[in-house]
Symmetry: C2
Subunit: 416 residues, 2 copies
């Protein structure tokens, strides 16, 4: 076993003195999970940035929690592998934070969630004792899988200090298609068509509406080679044979064009053009911050219902919002709904919430697909979880953190 510490002294100190601790990685979270609320001590993982081991036969990486995602990916690329997750914040987010928040991102469609790719964890519990579950095995059915409880618990049950993770091979060929669709129904039909025709090489299916494109062009001066459509989709393929992949992609594009699913589009195979096209999608968040005060929602829904929430919210808010935009990981049923206004207004917030949450609950969606609950969304958990489930979560919290010093005021609702 790769123990980094038997007892984690800062935690032991805090435990004995009843001091609350706020674990913090790259501090890139969007729901306030990594920010202290009152007088919590920040425990930063920034110096825990060592790669412990990488095995080229199995593709298993073991590293400390403070490693920056992009750095890990660069390290792996040199050895012919990649990280199984990728997200906009990769330049500063830490792998420990990714695990603690069960980060999703752009590659989930292809490589699955961290619940499958994380093979082991080292976790420090509230009393400062280390829990060593840092196995590097693809299969291990000896007792309960304790590490799962810490994945996605936002540092409220323990602090991730080291991670063992299964990494896929670096694809030899990557292609990107950026396409325009005339309706959301066509976006959906394009998805089922490309999933059938691209099969195992499909690695991303992202969508954005024309409002997103307007904001990216206006605020960031990016220009899109594809224009004049109400919806845009970005399709990425990753495979082991460029000739085969291009043939599959071309067959799909021909079908999509001749059947009228897609009205315009461009394809990129070289790195530079691929990056330029990805930035149209990846920099939407940044463009939004230039548009004013942003109300952000990260929703999972049955994929057919995904855009109805944007349309209904837009109709409801009318001119009280500046822009209501929708984009996200369509292949995963994950919508990022964002509303901008010139400045913060309580009445606008009241018009949005709980409307958006109630709408989501009506279709059995999740009010936080990948961002977590943190401080900002914890009171809304009941829109996606049954009360007996929340009660059980509270019992786990009480058992693992009896003093309530681990990232307090986060994830679970207070006062219940």
């Amino acid at each position: 076993m790769h123990k980094t510490s038997e007892t984690f002294f800062p935690f032991r100190y805090c435990y004995e003195r009843n001091l609350a601790v706020n674990p913090q990685g790259g501090n890139t979270g969007l729901v306030g999970g990594s920010v202290p609320v009152f007088d919590e001590i920040i425990l930063s993982t920034v110096l825990m940035n060592r790669i412990i081991s990488f095995d080229k036969v199995s593709g298993i990486l073991v590293c400390q929690a403070g490693c920056v995602l992009e750095k890990l990916n660069e390290y792996l690329e040199e050895q012919g592998f990649i990280m199984p997750l990728d997200l906009g914040a990769k330049g500063s987010c830490h792998i420990g934070g990714n695990v603690a928040t069960n980060a999703g991102g752009l590659r989930l469609l292809r490589y699955g969630s961290l619940r499958g790719t994380v093979l082991g964890l080292e976790v420090v519990l509230g009393d400062g004792s280390a829990l060593d579950c840092l196995a590097s095995l693809r299969k291990d059915n000896t007792g309960y899988d304790l590490k799962q409880l810490f994945i996605g618990s936002e540092g409220t049950l323990g602090v991730v200090t080291a991670v063992s993770i299964l990494c896929p091979q670096k694809p030899k060929a990557v292609n990107l298609a950026f396409l325009g669709c005339q309706s959301f129904a066509k976006v959906l039909e394009t998805f089922t068509t490309c999933r059938a025709m691209l099969g195992e090489i499909l690695s991303a299916y992202e969508f954005m509406d024309e409002k997103c494109m307007e904001l990216v062009e206006r605020h960031l001066k990016l220009s899109s080679p594809v224009t004049g459509s109400p919806f845009y989709v970005l399709i990425e393929t990753s495979g082991s044979n460029s000739t085969h992949d291009e043939e599959k992609l071309n067959n799909f594009l021909e079908r999509a064009m001749t059947s009228g699913l897609v009205t315009d589009g461009t394809v990129a195979t070289d790195d530079k053009k691929i990056k330029a096209l990805w930035s149209l999608r990846e920099r939407i968040t940044e463009a939004l911050t230039h548009d004013g005060c942003v109300y952000k929602y990260d929703i999972s829904l049955p994929v057919g219902k995904l855009y109805d929430l944007v349309t209904d919210t837009r109709a409801r808010l009318g001119r009280s919002a500046k822009n209501v935009v929708g984009y996200g990981h369509l292949g995963d049923g994950n919508l990022h709904l964002n509303i901008t206004a010139e400045s913060y207004s309580h009445s606008l917030l009241d018009a949005i919430e709980p409307f958006v949450y109630e709408w989501t609950a009506r279709y059995n969606g999740s009010i936080s697909a990948e961002h977590g609950l943190g401080f900002k969304k914890k009171q809304f958990i009941q829109y996606s979880k049954a009360s007996e489930a929340v009660f059980l979560m509270q019992r786990f919290k009480a058992m693992l953190d009896p003093k309530g010093i681990l990232n307090p005021y986060k994830t679970l609702p207070s006062g219940s």
Copy 2:
């Protein structure tokens, strides 16, 4: 939400009367997890065999726990999908039991573990109350992922009554190669070569030693088209384009042959021949039962060490064992080590155990890769799990099953 029951009456009855319950699906487990030890009441899921829903856009199946795996697969194949797991016992095992034991099997290499593909569960707790986590969303980060605790806990924390699971598309093309290798080192090198050249279409990489082949031929009268090698590997590809897949496979086979990794082999593309080749691998377990008393071990190890355990065990036991054979899911680092003898002997068992467990622990392996601990292996958990982890598991058990009536005497060590 798709509730099948608010309160599960048989359980409530048992809880109130302090009666222990042994949940049982297809009763195909190999470690005694589904068999009562003393006077437990068997709770069979056999009548809970209803498919609740299947969504063709998302590929998400929701069904009751008693559905037989093969039946589910047949149902899905008609709609162009497959189950993400496949195992020898598919004709009788139940999906609820698969989830409760975190079953691995033949497709894990491609589609990942149930921890990633199971999206939701309905579970009945020890007091008879139902816990509804039966979401059908690929992403949901609202609070702790409670369902993970029930996956692989062998019915000791709650009983799975319904499952929501993400199913992959049925591959349009399947190919099988059955090859002979002259050493285990070549089996490993063949693996890294085929993983690089077959990439995303590789769906199984199984191996078996010549002893396995002998037993399958002798006891089941199966005949292999490939003979005379100390090791055999079975490589399956599953993809969306038969021309591309065959080209990839042929390129790989040419490389493997010319570089001497492989000395003999055959390829199958039609269903009948594919099934015949698979049965050489899948029926090893059956052949072993005809060979006498079988001592079974299901071990995870770093892949390079996998066969050393077989060699060392064979050397240690000498003529006191009839046969010592090794086979398994090499791509997952999972070895099935089996030892046969004319009849059960305590002294032979003493020669095997704890030797095999100590050997496995030395290389940070798992003493139960996919079979679980059940009744037979629970006392050996400490070879793969740290004592503080076992202690924490016991606290979870005490919290969720305070009366100790849920599948007692299983999974966790007694008397500690």
